[in-house]
């Protein structure tokens, strides 16, 4: 595993949307959190898990 840049950037965007939602919990910020930030968190987590899995496969741990 050399880098987790893409998952980290996806999560960073999701965190920023969530921060905006915390500052102004209006309908648009809520929709952005529900429909954008949460899927981005899932994508980031899945991307990270895939890299860990690939890394462990490469080292013949799995």
């Amino acid at each position: 595993m050399n880098s987790v840049r893409l998952p980290a950037l996806a999560a960073a965007v999701a965190f920023l949307i969530t921060a905006l939602y915390a500052v102004d919990p209006g309908p648009y910020a809520m929709a952005a959190f529900v429909f954008l930030a949460q899927p981005l968190f899932v994508i980031a987590g899945a991307g990270y898990a895939y890299r860990v899995w690939k890394d462990l496969r490469g080292r013949k741990v799995l």
């Binding site: 960073a12 309908p27 990270y48």
Partner: protein
């Protein structure tokens, strides 16, 4: 400070912390970390690579999980307040009317007489909306999507059935309720909501006509928000 506010602040703090962690982790190339580098965590000393992998785990799993949990709690708690409903302009006529001292709607009478101390919308509508059961939450998300994408027409119309339980949970069994003979006569129909409380007690909110753009009352009820 109310619980929803505490969770809101916590959401903000976790989000900023998470974003900073993510930016830090995104800049790291694990292959270029000096294998001899050691990092002390206080209770243990780990290699630099292990440290950044733990950091990635925190940034991409632990902190997001905590943030999503806290933010969702904030969402569910935060929608109890009247202002949460009032943020969507289509709900403003209901809130304006409720606070109108001269209005005779049920909502206004309950508000004026202090019959519901706080979270007035939620108390009467707790079986649907974001704080209701799972199916109701899904409905809430549908409302959110429709509102934010502008795929709705005014006046909005409630598609479901308003269950009398929302009224009966406070009124049933009280001396004033029991003293009305018709309440006993139609008890079964009230219980299954086949007869609405509104049939005898008047409308709860402004009429659909009043909430239609172009109506004489529309500007007053919406506070000319549009």
């Amino acid at each position: 400070m109310e619980t929803a506010d505490v969770f809101r602040v916590l959401t903000g703090v976790l989000s900023v912390l998470g974003a900073l962690l993510c930016v830090w982790v995104a800049r790291v190339n694990f292959g270029r970390i000096d294998p001899e580098r050691k990092v002390s965590l206080g209770v243990a000393t780990v290699s630099g690579v292990a440290f950044f992998k733990l950091l990635a785990l925190a940034a991409l799993f632990a902190v997001p999980a905590a943030t999503v949990a806290v933010a969702n709690y904030h969402t569910v708690e935060g929608v109890h307040g009247v202002e949460a409903c009032n943020r969507c302009h289509v709900m403003t006529p209901m809130v304006t009317d409720m606070r109108d001292a001269s209005s005779q709607t049920l909502a206004a009478r309950h508000f004026r007489n202090g019959w519901i101390a706080k979270d007035q919308c939620f108390v009467c509508h707790s079986d649907y909306g974001l704080a209701g059961d799972l199916r109701a939450k899904m409905e809430g998300y549908r409302h959110l999507a429709r509102y934010t994408t502008g795929t709705f027409t005014e006046p909005i119309k409630f598609r479901g059935v308003f269950h009398n339980d929302n009224c009966l949970k406070c009124h049933e069994g009280t001396p004033r309720f029991v003293a009305v003979p018709s309440h006993v006569t139609v008890r079964a129909r009230l219980a299954d909501s086949s007869l609405s409380c509104l049939n005898c007690h008047g409308r709860a909110h402004p009429t659909r006509d009043q909430r239609t753009p172009g109506h004489a009352d529309y500007g007053r009820l919406t506070g000319e928000k549009r």
